[in-house]
């Protein structure tokens, strides 16, 4: 498993290929790879986005990402998983996140990558601040967070 928070711009495809080559080697049990990459758009909530600042909670974020990948590994019989997430200053078209899972069968890889992304959006402590023509704004969560047990 690989969990990484990157402060510098990164190439998600290169990171994937490196991990596959150097860690998974040529694991011939792998029949399916499912990958999701999120990138900064230049438009959000009807406003042009010039750039974006992403912050996280060091320690807690990594712990939660690791737990999410471990849950998916167990639930879907996944061979391995990877999450890399940017923080710092990002511009439109910059990669924000890559999630990848490897499994024997496609159903499991599809489900695992999707579950990890949904859990990440709902729980991983990251926060986006967008700069627009009208100054900056904290991004509102897109995922409904029904569970209000953790609210003060």
């Amino acid at each position: 498993m690989k969990i990484e928070i990157m402060n510098e711009k990164f190439d998600p495809w290169e990171a994937l290929v490196d991990y596959k080559k150097n860690v998974l080697l040529n694991d011939s049990r792998i029949g399916a790879t499912s990958v999701f990459v999120g990138t900064v758009r230049d438009f959000n909530d009807n406003e042009e986005v010039e750039n974006m600042e992403l912050e996280h909670y060091p320690g807690m974020t990594e712990k939660y990402l690791e737990d999410m990948v471990n849950s998916a590994i167990k639930k879907y019989n996944i061979i391995d998983g990877l999450v890399i997430h940017r923080v710092g200053l990002l511009e439109p078209t910059d990669p924000i996140v890559v999630v990848a899972t490897w499994s024997e069968h496609r159903e499991n890889a599809f489900n695992a990558t999707r579950d990890i992304m949904e859990a990440l959006k709902a729980q991983a402590p990251f926060w986006k601040k967008e700069s627009t023509n009208n100054g900056f704004r904290w991004v509102k969560p897109s995922v409904e967070q029904e569970d209000t047990a953790n609210e003060v």
Binding site: L54, Y57, M60, Q123, P125, F126, W127, N150, E151, V152
Partner: protein
């Protein structure tokens, strides 16, 4: 007892600082601490709380040495 408090994102902006070390009475709950820290402030509707890197219920009772964090709903990915 001593605790470490962290603020993130819009909550940090509101508090005007990113962290502080506090002496508080034992068995203060997360919610009681938040109320006492923001008694003179207009607070956002939704603030999440984590203790020692784990989401907790607002009634969670703090222990000596705990790290508690307050932050808005998350927006990663």
């Amino acid at each position: 007892m001593k605790i470490y408090v962290k603020y993130f994102a819009s909550v940090r902006d509101m508090m005007g600082k990113d962290s502080e070390d506090l002496e508080i009475e034992s068995s203060t709950s997360a919610n009681e601490l938040w109320k006492s820290l923001t008694v003179d402030k207009k607070t956002p509707v939704r603030v999440l709380v984590a203790v020692n890197h784990e989401y907790v219920d607002k009634n969670f009772n703090l222990k000596d040495g705990d790290e508690i964090a307050f932050f808005p709903p998350v927006t990663g990915g």
